[in-house]
């Protein structure tokens, strides 16, 4: 049980760490995707089947493509090489951002009231396999998740939606600066 968790955690963290340290961007991206798989495995371990599959579907299926596209299409501009990796300002800003994100996430976790799980409720997992044939409880069904999202967390959902839309529009605006001359006549 715990061994599985340890395995998953080591896998996730190791892939993430190696992804950070590699020089080859494509390898990093692929390892990042591997670590997302680790996270999905963790969700599975915790019995959150829906979230696990959604994680794979969204992150591995879609976000990874965006990442790979970004890596492949971005031109290696001179700006990258000018900024030294170990400049103090960068390090400080990175630390501040990191602490802020950690603080927000930690606060969210601490403020969440988890339903009490009886030990029996934890699904029996064959150690190491990660996928169980039958998951009985806690059955947070799709219907429940939908209800939660549409009632309790409707505002958050809306805000996230707006944020993503704005980001999308921003990306479109950035990408559309191609100018009219390249507008290709299409049938």
């Amino acid at each position: 049980m715990t061994a599985a968790l340890v395995l998953i955690a080591v896998f996730t963290l190791a892939t993430a760490a190696v992804a950070l340290s590699l020089r080859n961007l494509i390898h990093s991206a692929l390892l990042l995707i591997a670590s997302w798989f680790g996270i999905a495995a963790f969700y599975l371990w915790a019995g959150a089947e829906f979230v696990a599959f959604a994680q794979v579907l969204v992150y591995v299926g879609a976000v990874s493509m965006v990442v790979l596209f970004a890596v492949l299409l971005t031109r290696r501009s001179r700006a990258d090489t000018v900024i030294a990796p170990d400049s103090v300002a960068r390090a400080i800003s990175a630390v501040i951002t990191g602490i802020a994100v950690f603080g927000v996430l930690g606060a969210a976790i601490l403020n969440t009231s988890f339903a009490r799980l009886s030990p029996a409720g934890v699904p029996p997992l064959p150690s190491g396999t990660g996928v169980s044939p039958v998951i009985s409880a806690p059955t947070a069904t799709v219907r429940d998740i939908g209800m939660q999202l549409m009632s309790t967390h409707a505002a958050a959902l809306l805000i996230i939606g707006i944020l993503l839309t704005v980001a999308l529009l921003g990306a479109v605006v950035l990408a559309a600066q191609d100018g009219p001359e390249s507008k290709q006549e299409s049938p």
């Binding site: 692929l30 829906f50 959604a54 794979v56 579907l57 591995v60 299926g61 879609a62 493509m65 790979l68």
Partner: protein
């Protein structure tokens, strides 16, 4: 769905009950066989052997199916193109040809014995991993499809989601193959594959959401169960026989064509443009693995389409229910695969920008409208009598109207032309 009257009741009387069909010997045959095998083993081992057995059966059945789908594809393509197709491979050491039935094995032996060429500049690890990852994920998708009344390898609450999550990882392998090959054509193919995946993932997902909405579950078995029963004993309650279901099925199949890189969406391996796309630098068995994974993907997507829209393993009429459910499943699967082959034989390939435009400007809006249509359908389930006709009318209109309008927009500027002559 609920239009039941005395007539239906009378028609249903002489038929065997569903329970009777479920207990038929042929229906239970796979289970009986499995239990017979496991009965030789001590109790603690049985669950493990049970799972291993189902894995082995799936792999062998679909492996064989893959082999013969390739043969069928070549033969049907041949017949459509007015040639006999491969028919000369004999049974080894004999002169018996049997229409070339040994061809897939000859192909297999050939690809196994071929030299595995890896380009010098290639990323060897990724070049090796790509077919493995692809095949692994394609096989994973087989886990949740209900092949028969009692034949579901794994029952998951979020089975449909699992299926598409596993399927989504396959294009990653295509990208790995394209990128690792160190070939410009392969790289272009990889980019195309990524763009194609992003474009068609959305209509593919949106196409089955209505099914989940109506069936109220993400579990494949429950979705199949929701399609049980017949109208007047002739029209099955399959989702495809509703306006939203028909539209959803069409969208799903088009997106499935794109997801499995089949013509007319076979751009990542467009042979006239990109040689063999991401497969350009693959040879021998790795190539065969790619090939196999591609067909597995096609088979799995067809299986999912059957589960979601074509009533799963249900017989089309109670009069033919004596035929076991898995036979019905395989029959439907063959029909869909035949459709894939037929389409491949007929249609030319789209261009990249047309491909993405078709997805974003046509399929996605249609799928979204279809979602609303399904919502309307499920909210109006209690309408009856003349309202039932109204319900059908509205629903059909919601399908056909946007199709015509969007189709007109999509094909704007593209029309047959009239030519003038100089005498």
């Amino acid at each position: 769905m609920t239009l039941s009257g005395p007539l239906t009741f009378l028609l249903q009387l002489p038929l065997a009950s569903a329970a009777g069909a479920a207990d038929a010997f042929l229906e239970r045959l796979p289970l009986v066989a499995r239990d017979w095998v496991t009965s030789w083993l001590p109790e603690p081992w049985r669950w493990l052997v049970n799972s291993l057995l189902s894995i082995a059966v799936i792999l062998s059945v679909f492996g064989l199916l893959f082999a013969y789908v390739t043969l069928a594809e070549r033969k049907i393509l041949g017949r459509i193109q007015n040639r006999p197709g491969p028919n000369r491979t004999p049974i080894p050491f004999t002169k018996l040809r049997f229409f070339g039935l040994a061809q897939p094995f000859a192909d297999g032996v050939k690809s196994l014995t071929k030299e595995d060429v890896v380009p010098r500049g290639a990323d060897h690890l990724l070049h090796f991993l790509a077919p493995v990852v692809l095949l692994a994920f394609s096989i994973l998708t087989f886990a949740v499809i209900p092949y028969g009344r009692h034949l579901v390898p794994v029952e998951l609450n979020a089975g449909v989601l699992y299926f598409f999550a596993a399927g989504a990882a396959t294009e990653l392998a295509v990208f790995m193959a394209g990128w690792a090959s160190r070939n410009k054509y392969s790289l272009l193919a990889a980019m195309r594959a990524l763009a194609q995946l992003i474009s068609y993932e959305l209509p593919l997902l949106l196409a089955w959401v209505p099914v989940v909405l109506v069936a109220g579950s993400l579990s494949t078995t429950e979705i199949v169960a929701a399609q049980a029963g017949w109208q007047f004993n002739v029209i099955p309650h399959w989702h495809v026989f509703t306006p939203w279901g028909a539209a959803g099925f069409a969208i799903f199949m088009i997106a499935a064509l794109a997801e499995s890189n089949r013509s007319p969406f076979d751009l990542p391996e467009a042979e006239s443009e990109l040689i063999a796309g991401h497969l350009t630098e693959y040879s021998g068995f790795k190539y065969a693995l790619f090939f196999m994974a591609e067909y597995f993907g096609m088979i799995a997507l067809s299986g999912m389409a059957i589960t979601l829209f074509l009533g799963g393993w249900h017989a089309p009429s109670p009069y033919v229910e004596f035929i076991p459910s898995y036979v019905w499943f395989m029959g439907k699967l063959s029909a869909l695969l035949l459709g894939f082959i037929w389409i491949r034989a007929t249609f030319p390939r789209l261009r990249m920008d047309q491909l993405t435009r078709f997805a974003w400007k046509f399929l996605v809006p249609l799928a979204l409208i279809n979602l609303g249509n399904a919502a309307f359908w499920s909210l109006s389930f209690h309408w009856s009598g003349p309202f039932q006709i109204l319900r059908w009318l509205i629903s059909v209109l919601v399908v056909v109207g946007p199709f015509v309008l969007l189709g007109r927009k999509l094909s704007a500027g593209v029309a047959p032309r009239v030519y003038r002559y100089a005498v």
